[in-house]
Amino acid sequence: MSDVKQPRSRTIVSAASVLRMPPHIKLRHEAGRGRWIILGPERVFEPDEPAVAVLKRCDGVRSVTQIVQELSKEYDAPAAEIETDVIGMFQELADKGVVVAA
């Protein structure tokens, strides 16, 4: 119905993706609340433990594959299993604007 120009495109996450949190997304531990939070434009997200583990490694340098390998070692779980979950999680975070392609 609308022939809008789309100057931007959706980030599709794959194993090879390298992602980062843009400067206006702030992952922070709130001592007063005893938990991790993500602050964004008019949003406060409360990431669960796996999301925090993933986001702490999301530095614009490591690829999704590298992050998966690290998590696989740390949590002693098969990389193949983790990979699907991590890609899914990153895709969701990308769609919310919490991570972008590096």
Binding site: P7, R33, L39, P41, V44, D95, G97
Partner: protein
């Protein structure tokens, strides 16, 4: 309830346990001055005058106290917050104490230099309001010439400065048919987020309800347009869709629950549980000039009054949905029934729900009356001149 009923008292720990949290957000209405005169302005009809506004140091103290209390995000609003020449000094302190700073602006007073300065001082996000994407109609709604072109410039500067942008588009009868173009405009401007917000009928909007109220068919159409656009723009722009509760079956969880997550400070320092709370009788509003934010949040009479579930009557008291909607909006309940403890008339379980819907349906069928523009009341003749 009679005059001898003791006011329920709780000690601070109990309140913190019962409300369970510190406020997440604080809406700082830095000033009620605004060059625009939108007829749906959320400010009270009785606007506060510039000579009653908090000083720079007082606002800076509010920022420090907010961070200390556990507030995460500060929404710098108005009126038009950029009408305060000390906005930079306030942003600087807010950023220093770790608050996530959000500027809610109409944009027309900004320059690129000022925006760059605000960014350098730590401003995190800009929310830019638009009235319509048709220049002439935007002028008619805001009673301000050339506003839309200025907003295009501001949107471009925000992106050039690599800052995140939200476009806020209040929807009503006079612009609702333009929604697809409004969404396109936000995409082209580079917004990462859009608020498609049906006007909420309080204060100036309530005064202008007959001029602003869309029809049910128009509202349903906007829901379809937003659904389609959300899917098409996934990963490009996120949507916040605020529905008009006159056509809803369930009430909105107003303010996320009274005294539960948000506090509002007016230009003169009055602390409100919601920006329309002054329309309710029997509330005492504390001022940051006299008490700390922490004390007001925990013990303030106006915050205690409708916090939690104790105050509720039926059908709310035993309703399982009270955990989600908190009984809806107190101001709307009072405006419609004369008793703020009644359920929100937007709820289909309210005995006056059908009357409430009828108001909207009938208003939307009438020819729209002229807008009553948002203006300061004229100063009374006896008021002495400023020295």
């Amino acid at each position: 309830m009679n005059d001898l009923t003791p006011v329920q008292t709780q000690d601070a720990d109990e309140v913190l346990q019962s409300c369970g949290r510190a406020p997440v957000g604080l809406l700082a209405e830095l000033t009620h001055k605004c060059p625009l005169q939108c007829p749906y302005c959320s400010n009270p009809v009785e606007l506060e005058r510039a000579n009653t506004e908090l000083t720079t140091a007082e606002w800076q103290s509010v920022m420090r106290q907010a961070a200390d209390l556990g507030v995460l995000q500060i929404h710098l609003s108005g009126g038009e917050p950029t009408a305060r020449r000390d906005l930079e000094d306030i942003v600087k302190v807010a950023a220093e104490v770790g608050l996530y700073t959000n500027l809610i602006t109409a944009g027309v007073l900004l320059t690129k230099e000022r925006l760059a300065k605000l960014k350098d001082l730590g401003l995190d996000h800009v929310q830019l309001s638009i009235q319509d994407v048709d220049d002439a109609n935007a002028e008619r709604i805001s009673a301000y010439k050339g506003g839309l072109q200025k907003k295009r410039d501001v949107g471009r500067w925000v992106k050039e400065l690599d800052m995140p942008l939200t476009v806020n588009a209040p929807l009503h009868r006079a612009n609702i048919e333009n929604l697809p173009n409004i969404i396109d405009f936000a995409v082209e401007l580079g917004a990462g987020r859009i608020e498609v917000a049906h006007v909420q009928y309080y204060a100036w909007a309530l005064k202008n309800r007959a001029a602003l109220m869309p029809s049910r068919a128009q509202v349903i159409k906007t829901a379809h347009i937003v659904e389609e656009a959300k899917e098409r723009l996934k990963g490009i722009m996120t949507f916040d869709f605020v529905v008009p509760d006159y056509y809803a079956k369930t009430p909105k969880p107003c303010m996320g629950g009274w005294g539960r997550g948000i506090m509002n400070v007016t230009p003169s320092g009055r602390v409100l549980p919601c920006h329309a709370a002054e329309s309710l009788p029997g509330l005492e509003f504390d001022n940051v000039r006299e008490k700390t934010l922490r004390d007001i949040w925990i013990n303030g009479q106006s915050f205690q009054k409708y916090r939690g579930f104790e105050w509720m009557k039926e059908p709310c008291q035993t309703c399982p949905k009270r955990e989600f909607d908190y009984g809806g909006c107190r101001c709307q309940a009072f405006a419609m029934t004369g008793d703020a403890t009644n359920t929100d008339p937007a709820c289909s379980l309210s005995p006056v729900h059908s009357d409430f819907v009828k108001i909207a349906e009938e208003a939307s069928k009438q020819e729209a009356p002229a807008f009553v523009y948002r203006r300061m009341a004229p100063v009374k003749a006896k008021a002495p001149a400023e020295a």
